[in-house]
């Protein structure tokens, strides 16, 4: 269990893009909340971390892994959204002096959820091991470009989708999309933003014509077309069946246990997330 953090095994999924695949579990003391896909991109002059990890230990392991690959300075730590499994490792990078980057809504989301997440994670990992949030100083409202030295990354702030603060990264050199939790593969997606908004952002991302993507959860690298198709199908089933339930006057508690069940075999942890997704969808769609 807890010991000195060790460098984790990362896969170089494209030249200079190193990804640590998260385990398909919820946070436990044993997994140190290392459940999301996190990693880094190496340019000529500097490194960008794209998601610092789910806990202080997770972040420190990533830092050690970076130092096994390169001694270049870590210039940016990009935080893809508010969820703890992606960002509680941030403090492990502070001594490196990077610029922390996030969606323009991220500071507000950290304020709203920060102490709630901190308590929840400390309950699971213990007080010293949870890590803490670092408020980004470089905020993205629409789109910005950062340069790691002959390696430009396009960072896009999305309207409310998976959450209200999703930031995606495209590496212009390899044309690989680091989608954060805008893309779930194999693991049941969780909706904490807006179902319809998420579907429309998937359409927008599709227009980028990237061939490969790093999902927030699932394999370290996937073919964009296949992966986005599965997610769109699930979200569309959820949208259509929840709307139909509301139209028929089916109560929310009944919808939560009946909507989306045809998708059950397609996603790990389905029973832990689908019912909650239905409630989230229902409470918004009933106002349509």
């Amino acid at each position: 269990m807890a010991g000195a953090p060790t460098a984790v095994r990362l896969a170089e999924v494209a030249p200079g893009i190193h990804i640590r695949q998260g385990v398909t579990e919820d946070a436990t003391a044993a997994n140190s909340d290392a459940i999301a896909n996190i990693g880094f991109i190496v340019g000529r002059d500097a490194v960008a971390v794209v998601d610092p990890g789910g806990s202080f230990d997770d972040g420190q392991s990533l830092l050690l892994a970076i130092r096994q690959v390169t001694e270049l300075p870590i210039r940016y730590v990009v935080q893809s959204h508010v969820h703890p499994d992606h960002v509680f490792g941030a403090a492990a990078f502070q001594a490196e002096g990077p610029v922390f980057v996030g969606h323009a809504n991220l500071p507000q989301a950290f304020e709203a959820r920060g102490s709630y997440y901190q308590q929840g994670l400390e309950k699971i990992l213990g007080v010293g091991r949870a890590g803490r949030l670092v408020t980004p100083s470089l905020l993205v409202r629409d789109q910005i470009e950062i340069d790691l030295g002959e390696r430009r990354l396009t960072l896009t702030a999305h309207p409310t989708a998976h959450t209200n603060c999703d930031l995606s990264v495209v590496d212009r050199w390899t044309n690989v999309l680091l989608a954060g939790d805008l893309l779930f593969v194999d693991r049941a997606p969780s909706i904490d933003g807006d179902l319809r908004g998420w579907l429309s952002q998937l359409t927008a991302l599709d227009a980028l014509k990237v061939r490969a993507a790093v999902p927030g959860h699932g394999p370290a690298l996937v073919k964009w077309q296949d992966a986005v198709g599965n997610l769109q199908r699930y979200l569309t089933v959820l949208l259509n069946e929840t709307r139909a339930a509301i139209d028929r006057g089916m109560p929310i508690e009944e919808a939560a246990t009946t909507v989306g069940l045809s998708e059950r075999g397609n996603w790990a942890l389905f029973d832990d997330y689908n019912g909650r997704n239905v409630i989230e969808a229902y409470r918004r769609l009933e106002w349509e």
């Binding site: 436990t28 304020e111 709203a112 920060g114 209200n164 019912g275």
Partner: protein, 309 residues
Amino acid sequence: MFGSLSEHWPVVWSMLGGVAEGMLRHYDAKCAARFIIMIVEHPVKACIKTLLLAIVACGATLPARADAKDDDARDRWELLRSTMFGGRTVHDAGDQLHLVIPERALDAALVPVTVELNLPTRVTAISLVVDNNPSPLAGTFRFGPAFTQKFLKVRVRVNDYTLIHAVAETEDGVLYTTSRYIKVSGGCSAPGLGNPAEVLARIGRMQFRRTRAVEGVKVPAELMISHPNYNGMQMDRAKSNFTPARYLQNVTVTTGGVSIFDLEGDISMSEDPVIGFGYTPADDGAIDILARDSMGSVFSRHFEALPQS
């Protein structure tokens, strides 16, 4: 690491205490499995692992500790009951009052609760209590003559594993109660991520849904009111301060001037409250809603009668 067992007995004992207490407070199969995996993977000597596993196994089945949990819940309810109802006797409702809630909350911020009424005497009020919430009394409904004495549906926030109580008062002044236990996955309800400006833009919007299939003269209906029901625990970044509590304090619903119910609400009601109930249309069956929140804002709506089918 562990020289002799007796030397480290206090450490072992406190670990066990924590583990057993955690298991009993949050006991379910998944949770127990995680504890066992944790112990198995822990780098201590095999004999200590065996001992830990044995005692955890005992802890999980020890009736004495389970009773302790029940005692806590009973003490809590006893305190709430005496605070809310003083010395009055609160009778067990038996099957005259039913609470329908999920065994485990899918979303702690929105737990649908249905109260089914089956009392021989007219019920004048129902209070809903989420025992372990910071503000346990979610709301008190006082019923008027147009309320159908069948069911009441609300959505509440649940912060922790807790009993939920419904207390009904009948017109002869007798109190009846029933309760159900609910588990909460992943702890208390996460504060919403909604943009405060958008939330304020839609505050007080209402919808009133009636089923057209009228059974006799009783109409099942659903009242939806857009309101953040801020519980005073959310941070407002712009003002670098906590968003003050702002919740629906009073909602009055009438049909043709006859009362259906009057609700005194609190912060344990979910955001965008939705209330389900049945009513007997009075006069032409039009509906009037008057709502007031804790900051003094007043919202009112008139809904025309349903066209005759």
